[in-house]
Symmetry: C2
Subunit: 242 residues, 2 copies
Amino acid sequence: MKGGGTIYYSSANVSERQAAPPSLAISTVIFALRPSESSGRPTLWLPLVRRIREPFKGMWALPGGPLSHAESLQDAASRNLRETTGLAPSYLEQLYAFGGLHRSPTQRVVSIVYWALVQPTEAALADESENVRWFRADRLGELAFDHNAIVDYALWRLRNKLAYGSVAYHLLGEYFTLAQVREVYEAVLDRQLDPANFRRQLKATPEIEETGEYLQGGKHRPPRLYRYTGRPGLDPDNRSTP
Amino acid sequence: MKGGGTIYYSSANVSERQAAPPSLAISTVIFALRPSESSGRPTLWLPLVRRIREPFKGMWALPGGPLSHAESLQDAASRNLRETTGLAPSYLEQLYAFGGLHRSPTQRVVSIVYWALVQPTEAALADESENVRWFRADRLGELAFDHNAIVDYALWRLRNKLAYGSVAYHLLGEYFTLAQVREVYEAVLDRQLDPANFRRQLKATPEIEETGEYLQGGKHRPPRLYRYTGRPGLDPDNRSTP
DNA sequence: CTAGTTATGGTCATTTTGACCAAAACTAAT
DNA sequence: ATTAGTTTTGGTCAAAATGACCATAACTAG
């Protein structure tokens, strides 16, 4: 370990401004299911906020903000999500820390990005305004900073977690039909799945509990309602504020 | 952790320090294979550095340091790894950003942690000294900060990536026998695997290429040598320094 | 009452997995 | 030189999981 770096940083001269540490921000990619405008089938949507100052003024960007001193990373993401969209997530997980040198043209900024899932009942209550709007995840325009790449990565993670994990149920309400779960998979993976085979898989997973209820009011045979029992895996650093 | 960034903040007065953003550090969990002292079979080891100042003075900790202004996160991890251990990793990936409020008793610090794999030829050249020493991954003592939890999480990730991904070959040299790959799996997953079945799986993956060479000098039938062809998946934010 | 549609249960062939066997190929010991 | 011991390598076989597909149940709309 050499001393050069230490001297460089601790020396108080003109370069100290340059040498100031990168600023730290928290951003969140928020996914929710909404019926497609055309087909009516559920599709993935996410809320973006319009930038009201430079850089990228006027462009859409992920909700985010600085990390305040007295909150954990996850709390900061959670608060940010609530403040910008009014939403409470049913799932929240760290995605990645983005720290490329030229993410922002004006200053060096490291963004710790979270991704969240919200249930449709929540999503319906979401604040929407001139500066907060929902977009289809597969039809975003050009976003500020590197946020297109971040969303792409979040989508990749969502697809991965879907296959392996217990993520789909956090996009649905407490009770759901097996066909609804299948529609989530089809929306996220963007391909059709065989209803009978998909059903067989879900019935083999013990976390999905059959209820005595049936979904009434449909046009056809009323499907049985199920419930998800099983807690989400905890983050490795989830010391929440006491 | 090197002194520069710390001094920058600790030289400020109390109120200024409260308002100051959390400091940002990079740490790395470095895994390498070494023969076990008892059985001689390969096991997982990792290098730790002794803390030479408070807090946790005298305890062992993960290699790490501040993020300098002109380098990407991955470059910082790579540099740090080289400076503390003299190693060049064959695999380097971001693990997680740890930002709990009470990770360090003296100040708020957010650590972006990477994990790395080094090949045995590299690992043999590693610097070792009074303040840098290698430990068996399953026999660490009590480490500074939350570093025990970080190592646990890195081990969990390693096991997961092993099953799914292409990680095992980065712990081996360029040429390897199928039995060596199996030993890596057995060391990391900590259970025995059937040689014949394991072989069948590896032969089915196209990234593993048969060579005409055989490993000579063993006590028994000389095994064929293989080579791994296939590039590691890139990080989502790997804009390296130009 | 009938046609249309979804939910649900099932079959069947194919693929993957796990347990196990046996020959090949080499070294070390007799 | 022969044999015993060990690892590599190729193989079988049953069990389990997967994918394609069929048939009936149960409801609504007309």
